[in-house]
C-alpha cells in the first residue's frame, strides 16, 4: 500500500480535481496491475480516474473486468462494451459529477481523438497536462519498488551470466541457442516473459554491428554461429511482478585482443564517469556531459543521437533520461540504467547496461552477479 498511499497524497496535493491516465504504463503504475498486453490494444483502452477525494476508478472493456479486478489494487471498475467512443463516454460519466472541474490528463499518452471526444462530452471541463506529476511520481521509487527492481536486475544479470557460462570455444553456440539459454536461465530464476517485448538475444561479430539484426525478428537469436575472436553481445529484458530488469553484457570468444580490451575499458570509463556524476542534486544532463567528456578524453566512438541512460520501473525505458536536455535533478529513490553505446574495433555496437539506484550517499550499482569491470571471456573449459 506504500505506493497507493503515495499516489493518494500526490493527487491530493495537486491542482487537479481528478487525474485521468490512459497510457498502459501509467495505468500499470496507478492501478498496480501487471497486465502486460494493454499497450497492444489501442482500440480497447483502459484508464484510471483518480479523484482528489474518494476512491479511484478503473475504466476497462467489459471482457477484462474480472481480470482487472483480480489483478489491480484499484477495486472500483466501470466497464464499456465497444471501442474508443464508448470508452470516452464511460470516462466522461465518471467525471461528470465534477462540474467545471480541472482534470489532469496524461497528454503524452492519450490519443488526440479520445481527448477531443472527452472535450465534446464535457465542454465545461478544463483539461490540463498531468504528465509532469506522473513523471515525478514514477521517477522516485518506493522501497518496495526498489526492492523489486534490484531483484529483477540481479536475476537478469544472473540469467545472462548463466548463459555465458555454457559457451565454450571448442563447442560453440549459435546466436539462436544463446537466446534460448538466456530465456531458460531467466525463466529458471523466476522472471516473467512478457510476450509483447521480452528480449533474449545474442549477437556476434558482424551481426553485433546492428541494434536489431535480421529485422523484423526482434529479440530472438539467429542461426549464426559464434566464432573465435568475436565480440558477443547478450541482451535480456524481462519483468518481475510488473517491474523490469534489462541487461546487456559483453563476452569475447577467447581472450580479448588489445583493441577489444580497449573498447571494453572505454565502456568501464563511461560507467565510472556516470557514477561519479550521479550524486543527489546533480542534473541528468550533467551526467550526460560527464559521460560525453569521458568518451572524448578516451577517444571512444560513442554512438550519437541516443540518450546515455534512462529510468526503469513499470516500463523498461522511462523518465528521467540521461540526455543533454533532461535537467531532472537526481534524488534518492531514483532507479536508472546507464547505457552508453560505443563502436567496437570491428564496428560492433557495444554496451553493458547497469542498473543504478540513487541513494543519499550517491549511486549504487545493483544486480551485478559478476564484476563487470572486465568482460566475460569464453574459453576452453566451463
Amino acid at each position: 500500500m506504500e505506493l497507493y498511499d503515495k499516489i493518494v497524497a500526490a493527487v491530493k496535493a495537486s491542482t487537479f480535481d481528478a487525474v485521468l491516465v490512459t497510457g498502459a504504463d501509467n495505468y500499470a503504475y496507478m492501478a498496480g496491475a501487471t497486465i502486460p498486453f494493454l499497450a497492444l490494444y489501442p482500440d480497447s483502452p483502459v484508464a484510471v480516474i483518480w479523484p482528489r477525494r474518494g476512491d479511484p476508478t478503473v475504466i476497462a472493456p467489459e471482457e477484462w473486468e474480472e481480470t482487472i479486478m483480480a489483478l489491480s489494487s484499484v477495486k472500483k471498475t466501470v466497464t464499456y462494451s465497444r471501442g474508443v467512443e464508448a470508452f470516452a463516454k464511460a470516462a466522461a460519466d465518471v467525471l461528470k459529477a465534477k462540474k467545471d472541474a480541472r482534470i489532469g490528463v496524461d497528454l503524452l499518452r492519450i490519443p488526440e481523438a479520445t481527448l477531443q471526444q472527452l472535450k465534446k462530452l464535457l465542454p465545461e471541463t478544463e483539461w490540463a497536462s498531468c504528465d509532469g506529476l506522473i513523471r515525478e511520481l514514477r521517477a522516485v521509487k518506493t522501497d518496495e519498488e526498489l526492492e523489486l527492481l534490484e531483484d529483477a536486475a540481479y536475476r537478469v544479470d544472473h540469467g545472462i551470466f548463466g548463459t555465458q557460462h555454457h559457451v565454450l570455444l571448442t563447442s560453440t553456440r549459435s546466436e539462436m541457442s544463446l537466446g534460448e539459454e538466456v530465456r531458460v536461465h531467466c525463466l529458471e530464476r523466476g522472471l516473467d516473459v512478457v510476450a509483447g517485448h521480452s528480449v533474449s538475444q545474442g549477437t556476434s561479430g558482424p551481426n553485433a554491428a546492428k541494434f536489431w539484426p535480421r529485422a523484423p525478428y526482434y529479440g530472438v537469436g539467429h542461426e549464426k554461429k559464434l566464432k573465435e575472436g568475436e565480440y558477443v553481445r547478450i541482451e535480456a529484458r524481462y519483468s518481475l511482478d510488473g517491474y523490469w530488469g534489462t541487461g546487456s553484457r559483453l563476452m569475447t570468444q577467447g581472450y580479448p585482443t588489445a583493441e577489444q580490451r580497449e573498447a571494453y575499458n572505454n565502456i568501464v570509463a563511461l560507467r565510472e564517469a556516470a557514477l561519479a556524476a550521479m550524486k543527489p542534486g546533480a542534473k541528468c544532463s550533467d551526467v550526460y556531459e560527464a559521460m560525453k567528456a569521458a568518451a572524448k578524453e578516451r577517444d571512444a566512438k560513442l554512438v550519437e543521437g541516443l540518450a546515455l541512460g534512462h529510468g526503469i520501473g513499470v516500463a523498461d525505458i522511462e523518465a528521467p533520461y540521461i540526455s543533454a536536455n533532461d535537467d531532472t535533478k537526481l534524488c534518492p529513490g531514483m532507479a536508472l540504467v546507464i547505457r552508453p553505446v560505443i563502436e567496437g574495433p570491428k564496428g560492433e555496437l557495444l554496451w553493458s547496461s547497469d542498473t543504478v539506484v540513487v541513494e543519499d550517499g550517491g549511486p549504487r550499482i545493483v544486480g551485478w552477479y559478476k564484476d563487470w569491470r572486465v568482460p566475460y571471456v569464453a574459453n576452453y573449459t566451463l
Binding site: 498486453f37 497528454l107 499518452r109 481523438a113 530465456r183 517485448h197 525478428y217 543521437g305 541516443l306
Partner: protein, 382 residues
C-alpha cells in the same frame, strides 16, 4: 502494402500527405515492423507518404533506423537525436525539418488521431505550420480489406501460432505425473515454438489454467495439474501481419460436463462461422449468436465475438452488438465465441477466416480443434 493504393488513398483524402505515428499504421504504409514500438510511448516513429512526388520518408530513433532499412525501405530515412529535447520535442523538431525538406511545411496533412498522443500533436503543431486532419476513417477502411498477399501472411501467422500451441501441448504429454511442467515454462514453450515455426513476433501471450481460466490473463505462476482446463491465447505475426488464436485443452480425459461445455461453445461458433459472408452486418451476427446462446442456456462472456486482424492483432471490423458495419470480401476476421464452462471458465476456440465471395474461408487450418485437446499422456493423439 501496394504503393499505388497508398498514394491513391492519400490523394482521395484531399491531403498533401499522410503522416502516421501508430505502429500498426506505420507497418501498413511502409511494410516495416518497428521493434516493440507500442511499448515505448516516449520513443517515436513516423512515416510520411506524400500524394505526389517520388520521396516518402520515415523518422525514427537512431536504433530503429537500420531495422527499417533492412526490411526493404528504400526511401528517405531520418533519425532524430534524443538529446535535442525532451519527448516529444526532439522528435517533432526532426519531423518538422523533414516535412520542410519535402515541401510540406504548410500542407494539409492527414494523420492517425486515434494513435497519436495529444501531447505529440501539440508538439508537431508548434514545430510546423502544417494543418493536421484526422484520416483514421480512411486508414480504417483501407486496412480492413486485405489483398491476397496480406491474407497469405495472416494465414502463415495462424500456422505459426497453432504450431506454438500444439507443440507445447505435445511436450506436456506424459509429464503430468512426473516432475511436470510449470505454467511459465508451458507458456514460454508456446511462444518459442511459434518463433521456431517461423513467427516474426509474438504479441499477446496468455496461458491460464484451472480456476485462472475465468480470467483473460494472470501472471504465469505455479504448476500444471491434472484435471483442469488450459486456455492458450496467442497473437503472433508473419512479417508484420497478425493472427489471434485461442485454443482449449484439458489435462486428462475430459469429464462429460467439460465435453458438453466445449461442444456447446463449438455449436455457437459454427452458427457465427456460417454468418461470415460479404454483406452480413456485424451487429446481426452478434445478435444471432447471442440469441442461439440464450436458447441453449449458454452464457456468453464479453460483448465481442470477433474482430479483424492484419497489421494489428486487434482491428476493425469488430463483431459486436451495436456495430452496423457490413462485412466485405477481403476482411480477415478472428472469430472467437467465448462462453462460460462448468466452473465459469472462459472457453474460446478462436480461428481466423478470410471473407470471400463464397463465405468464410478458414485460414487457421493447421489442426482441427473441434474437440477439446486432452492431455492424456498418449503421444498418438498428436
Amino acid at each position: 502494402m501496394d504503393e499505388t493504393l497508398v498514394r491513391r488513398l492519400v490523394d482521395a483524402s484531399g491531403c498533401s500527405a499522410f503522416v502516421v505515428f501508430g505502429a500498426d499504421n506505420f507497418r501498413y504504409l511502409t511494410g516495416a515492423t518497428l521493434p516493440f514500438a507500442e511499448n515505448y510511448p516516449e520513443r517515436q516513429a513516423a512515416a510520411i507518404i506524400p500524394a505526389e512526388g517520388d520521396t516518402c520518408a520515415v523518422v525514427t530513433p537512431v536504433d530503429w533506423l537500420q531495422a527499417i532499412k533492412d526490411q526493404g525501405w528504400m526511401e528517405a530515412a531520418v533519425a532524430y537525436d534524443e538529446n535535442e529535447g525532451p519527448h516529444p520535442a526532439a522528435f517533432a523538431k526532426t519531423l518538422a525539418k523533414t516535412l520542410a525538406g519535402m515541401g510540406l511545411t504548410k500542407a494539409k496533412i492527414g494523420y492517425d488521431a486515434e494513435r497519436t498522443s495529444a501531447g505529440l500533436v501539440e508538439a508537431v503543431k508548434a514545430a510546423t505550420k502544417a494543418k493536421l486532419v484526422s484520416v483514421d476513417a480512411a486508414l480504417y477502411g483501407a486496412r480492413a480489406v486485405k489483398n491476397p498477399a496480406e491474407v497469405a501472411l495472416v494465414e502463415q501467422s495462424c500456422e505459426f501460432a497453432d504450431r506454438g500451441i500444439i507443440h507445447a501441448l505435445n511436450h506436456l504429454e506424459g509429464t503430468l505425473w512426473g516432475p511436470g511442467y510449470t505454467v511459465p515454462e508451458f507458456a514460454e514453450r508456446v511462444r518459442v515454438h511459434a518463433f521456431e515455426s517461423g513467427a516474426s513476433g509474438v504479441g499477446h501471450m496468455a496461458v491460464t489454467m484451472g480456476d485462472d481460466t475465468r480470467l483473460a490473463y494472470t501472471p504465469h505462476r505455479g504448476d500444471v495439474d491434472e484435471g483442469i482446463f488450459i486456455r492458450s491465447d496467442i497473437t503472433c505475426h508473419s512479417m508484420g501481419y497478425w493472427c489471434s488464436i485461442s485454443r482449449m485443452a484439458y489435462t486428462g480425459y475430459a469429464p462429460p460436463e467439460v465435453e458438453d461445455a466445449y461442444a456447446e461453445n463449438q455449436i455457437l461458433k459454427q452458427v457465427a462461422e456460417g454468418l461470415l459472408k460479404p454483406g452480413a452486418r456485424c451487429d446481426k451476427i452478434h445478435a444471432k449468436v447471442a440469441s442461439e446462446a440464450e436458447k441453449a442456456g449458454a452464457k456468453l462472456h464479453g460483448p465481442m465475438i470477433g474482430h479483424g486482424v492484419g497489421c494489428s492483432h486487434f482491428e476493425a471490423p469488430y463483431i459486436v452488438a451495436g456495430n452496423p458495419e457490413e462485412l466485405k470480401t477481403g476482411n480477415v476476421i478472428a472469430l472467437g465465441v467465448a462462453t462460460l464452462g462448468p466452473r465459469r471458465e472462459i472457453i474460446v476456440n478462436r480461428d481466423v477466416y478470410e471473407i470471400t465471395h463464397e463465405g468464410a474461408k478458414k485460414l487457421s487450418w493447421y489442426r482441427s480443434w473441434d474437440r477439446i485437446y486432452e492431455v492424456t499422456g498418449f503421444r498418438a493423439v498428436h
